[in-house]
Point group: C2
Chain length 215, copies 2
C-alpha cells in the first residue's frame, strides 16, 4: 500500500503518484456507479480514496481534468478494439451483432460513460472537448461509416445512414443504464442483472439485424 | 402584458400570477433548448423572463419545484394521449409505428425531457419523484405492457418483454436529441433539422417493426 501523502498534499514517490492517481479515478468510478449519477463532489471522491482533496488539483488540474482522465481511461484501447473488429473475418451483419453485444457489456461495466462524455463535450474547455471527441466519438462514428459501407458491399446489410445507425444503437444500449430511475418507477427494476443484460443484448440484435439484414 | 411585480417580488393580480408563472416556465424551456442542457441557473431563468428571481421560490418553492412543474406541463395530457392511441382502430404493429413517430416528434419539441425526468426521479424529494414517476413513467410503462400483449393477441407482433421494448425505443428516440454533442463531434451535425428528424423516424420504425413484426 502507498504511504500517506505529505502534509502539502504531494505524494513522496513515483510509485505512490501512480497509486494515488489511480485511487482517485477508482473512487470516482465507484461513486458514479453506486449513485447512478456523474454529479459526485470532489470532496467525496477524495474521501473515498482516503486522500487529500488537494491531490485532485495536483494530478488533474481540477475536477474537469479528473472527469476527462476517467473517460479516457475507460476507453484507452477503444479505437484499437473497433479497428480489430473491422478486420475480423466476419461479414458486416455479423460484425454489427458482435459490436452491439460488446457495447451493452461495456455500458454495463461503465454505466455513466455516455453521460460523462456528453458533459465533457458540452461543459469542458474547447481543448478538452476536442481531446474527448477525437478519442471517444470520432473512432465510433468512423466505425459506423465503415460498417454501413461494408454491409452494402458484402450484401449482408441494407443501406443505412451511419448517423441513424449510431444514434439508435448507442442510444438504445445506453438507456438501459442511464435510464435506471425510470426502469424502477415503470417496471420495478432496480438494477440490470445478468439475465436482463443478456436479454437486452438479444433484443437489440433482433431489432437492428431484423431491420437491416438483407432478406 | 403583465405589470411589473411589486417590490416584494409578489405579483398584483390572479391574471398576472398566471402570466408570471408561465413566463418562468417558458424561459426555463427556452434556455434548456438553446443550451442543450438542463443545468440552467435560476438567476438566468428569471432574467430571461424579465422577473425577480424571488418569484421562483414564490411560485415553485424553489428550483426543484420549477423543474417538476416544467416536466409536468409538457406532458399534462400525456397519459390521455397514450390511452387514445391504445383505443385507436389499429393493430399493435401499426400502433407501435404511430407511437415511435410521435415520440421522436415529442422529443424534438422538448429535447431535454428525458434528462429532466431522470434528474427529478434521482435528485428530488421522494414525494416529488413519486409524482413525476406516476405521471410520466408509469403511463408509458403501462402502454408498452398493453402494446406487447395486444401484439401477441392480434398476431401482428412477435412476443417481446415490455421493459426491453421501452428501453430501446425511448433510448433510441431520445439519443438523437440528448446526444447532440456527440453527433457534432462524430458527424458534424449541429442540430436535428426536419430532414434528419423524418429520416430518423423512418429508421427507428424500420428497426423496431423489422425486428418485431410477424412474418
Amino acid at each position: 500500500m502507498a504511504r500517506a501523502p505529505t502534509r502539502s498534499g504531494r505524494p513522496r514517490k513515483a510509485s505512490e503518484t501512480r497509486a494515488a492517481r489511480e485511487r482517485l479515478l477508482d473512487a470516482a468510478h465507484a461513486l458514479m456507479c453506486e449513485r447512478q449519477t456523474i454529479d459526485v463532489p470532489v470532496q467525496e471522491i477524495a474521501a473515498r480514496a482516503d486522500l487529500n482533496v488537494a491531490l485532485i488539483n495536483y494530478y488533474f488540474d481540477g475536477k474537469d481534468g479528473l472527469l476527462l482522465a476517467l473517460a479516457m481511461r475507460h476507453q484507452a484501447d477503444y479505437a484499437a478494439a473497433l479497428d480489430r473488429l473491422l478486420r475480423a473475418p466476419l461479414n458486416a451483419a455479423a460484425m454489427l451483432e458482435a459490436h452491439i453485444r460488446g457495447l451493452v457489456r461495456a455500458f454495463r461495466r461503465t454505466p455513466y460513460l455516455q453521460r460523462l462524455q456528453h458533459k465533457i463535450l458540452r461543459d469542458s474547455s474547447e481543448e478538452e472537448a476536442k481531446v474527448c471527441g477525437a478519442a471517444l466519438v470520432a473512432p465510433l462514428a468512423a466505425f459506423y461509416v465503415a460498417l454501413a459501407a461494408n454491409g452494402v458491399r458484402d450484401g449482408s446489410l441494407l443501406p443505412v445512414a451511419p448517423i441513424n445507425l449510431y444514434a439508435s444503437v448507442v442510444g438504445a444500449a445506453d438507456f438501459l443504464f442511464s435510464g435506471t430511475a425510470s426502469l424502477r418507477h415503470g417496471f420495478g427494476v432496480d438494477a440490470v442483472n445478468d439475465d436482463l443484460g443478456a436479454a437486452y443484448e438479444d433484443h437489440l440484435v433482433r431489432l437492428v439485424l431484423g431491420g437491416l439484414s438483407t432478406p
